[in-house]
Subunit: 172 residues, 2 copies
DNA sequence: CGCATTCATTTAACATGTTAAGTATCTCCG
DNA sequence: CGGAGATACTTAACATGTTAAATGAATGCG
């Protein structure tokens, strides 16, 4: 309560605006951003101790469950854009946490897999990570958590086909 | 539907792991990230047309509802870290979208406000932005949207006091 | 008053997000 | 088979996220 700054919706609002816009602190993007930050804040210190960023950890986790993947599919799985993934893979490879080899059939494709060292690092991080997740679940409630995830999935789904006019142009 | 890559939870999983970890594509951070991205994807093209990034838009919106704020409070309101805000304010000032003046009582503080040009730009962007938000609301459902935001707020709240061991050390 | 401490903001350094362009490879059709 | 177009990935360029350190100004206390 007292944490929030003086609520800008009340008090003396200057004549700066005509159109009444939603108090932006309650907009959906902000709600999602704050919620995600609240969650990630719990994980970052532990990851940091192991020299991993959130995204690097995402990649390792994605790789741990699979033999090898093409970069493009890994990007989808870890929800990273190509350029970000490209940079991160370069660094992870330099740290010997992953391995790469070009596909035989298609020289363009590169198959990525987690290395033995990568597996070891995951094993070191996973317990803490799981404990944090468990604590979050405990605090928020397992049922509510499931409900929330369900709603998030629906939101994502309901916007899947929505594209702005700009995108439509770029369709070709 | 067909957009999602082959579900990594099925198929041949190598012996890479001992500890069964949640399929990470269903972890809470990923759910939140994907949901937020689905939402922001709708807004970015419109903002881009006006030469604004998501964060710049957040700042303008925060400023529009208030006379002037200190940088630190603006950071809280727009949910940006100090360094990010500092850079963005420098750029927005160069574009004459905001104004700054150091506080009289405390030379350290800088009071930020939106400029006349900034107001004009907001007026140009707001209609499209509101229309997009309305469409999102229509698709997802107003009631469900309210529920979702409620849950997100609860999640944030339930993690407010949770701090990892690392943070505790830094308390002093 | 003098100075160590705190505070507000900025700068620095590195990592990622985002879009556009580049490179190498493959595919397919004439 | 050969070159236009598609595809997989990388590089480039700019903006932000993130943490640490620096700078400049206020505060408190001896």
């Amino acid at each position: 309560m007292s944490k929030r700054p003086a609520d800008p919706a009340n008090g003396s609002v200057p004549a700066a605006r005509q159109v009444p816009m939603r108090d932006f602190s309650r907009s959906l993007p902000m709600s999602l951003l704050r919620a995600r930050e609240a969650v990630m804040r719990q994980f970052r210190p532990s990851l940091r101790e192991h020299g991993l960023t959130e995204q690097q950890w995402r990649i390792l986790r994605a790789l741990a469950a699979i033999e090898a993947v093409e970069v493009t599919e890994l990007a989808r799985t870890a929800f990273l854009l190509g350029p970000s993934l490209s940079r991160i893979l370069r660094d992870l490879e330099a740290r010997n946490l992953i391995e790469r080899k070009t596909a035989k059939a298609d020289q363009r494709r590169s198959m990525v897999s987690i290395s033995k060292e990568g597996v070891k690092l995951m094993a070191a991080v996973a317990p803490t990570s799981e404990a944090i997740y468990a604590e979050i679940t405990r605090r928020f409630g397992a049922r509510k958590l499931a409900e929330l995830q369900e709603m998030l999935g629906e939101l994502e789904h309901s916007l899947a086909g929505l594209r702005s006019a700009d995108d439509t142009l770029a369709e070709g």
